[in-house]
Symmetry: C2
Subunit: 249 residues, 2 copies
Amino acid sequence: MNKTIETILDHRSIRSFQDKPLTREQIETIITTAQAASTSSFIQAYSIIGVSDQNKKDQLAEVVGNQPYVAKNGHFLVFCADLNRHAQIAEMENIDVIPSIESTEKFMVSVIDAALAAQNAAIAAESMGLGICYIGGIRNNLEAVQSLLKTPDYVVPLFGMAIGYPAKVNDKKPRLPLEHVYMENEYQQDTATFIKQLEDYNQVISAYYRERTDGKREDTWTEQIGQMLEKKSRMYMKDFVQNRKMDLR
Amino acid sequence: MNKTIETILDHRSIRSFQDKPLTREQIETIITTAQAASTSSFIQAYSIIGVSDQNKKDQLAEVVGNQPYVAKNGHFLVFCADLNRHAQIAEMENIDVIPSIESTEKFMVSVIDAALAAQNAAIAAESMGLGICYIGGIRNNLEAVQSLLKTPDYVVPLFGMAIGYPAKVNDKKPRLPLEHVYMENEYQQDTATFIKQLEDYNQVISAYYRERTDGKREDTWTEQIGQMLEKKSRMYMKDFVQNRKMDLR
């Protein structure tokens, strides 16, 4: 196993950082690696907003709820799906790109582009001895995030990333069995096998929590995820995205 | 610069592979690294379908158009946004998850989850001396891909990834200037600066093509992307995704 694979497999979300800001050089290295990711047909449909202003970080921490590491970290990035520069292209080249950039296809392209870039940034940061945590919580209130970061139409902030020197390192949570996530030549057609895999995995997750909480917690994966999904979070998202003129047609 | 960052920065898409299949061990390493990526609230909302059946690979190559490396490579993966296992959870836990998994929010979560996993796979493969190429072209005809891979409702194949031993290595294309993609504390508010950055970048890209084609090609980035966007590709995507019961509300 090489060093890069070791770094990737050693990933865990870091939720407590030392009080030590990243240098400009570290930030530029991380952004440059993000930009090196593949991008659909060279479209480069994302932007990254670095938040260094402590007041803004505090406000973001409020938006996401109880996550102090959004305010306290070495640096904070917000990854955005971004077709705004492509809207500008229309004026520069005097052509109509609106049906295209308002399409579901291009929304997906911009979300995928942003995520590929982000994961490069995550791996690069971790390879430098830093820790990271993705912050989906910024989607709790994208109106607030948008007004804080002044993002225009054709831009949707997708998630944050807190980066910094780890103060506390958590355990890795076991993932779904490989044979459940990875299928050969066609999707798993046998529902009984599919459910059996989830049940076996439930035992693994239950044991994981039991061990780490002296038996206080022993919920299974399907219980945990089921409860989360039953709650219906962020149901305003369709309106928000479409008000930003994305995923419209 | 460490080895991992070198690997990330050295990325280029490989479109010609040696006739040498990946071993099962290599494939499992790649999938395991994919699974190590962050996943929103532990939801693990993606699946990966490995296509080894040469007949299916040939058919996929036909779907995407003129891309022979979809049929000829060391292995081919299809990354899918997948909330099907979460639909199963509803039955296992006897709860209602439908409004949640049919939401735009959860569609975004599943697309982001799949992309983060894919980029881990890409970096891992490259660190092993393999090359990769993302294949967005599978979205040219997702009905065909779906019937080939037998994916159920709540699953949307997003992109393929051809992996293998490189037969031919291309140059890296220069990315947008860092200061255009990376902004501090708020989105770039000055349109003139924004457009000036694109114009400067146009010079870089034009020179890049000129050098590599003996002056035969010298299109700018905004020309190239503008022409692509003017064409309106894959406008069926919204219907396809919603027919799969995702991004509905």
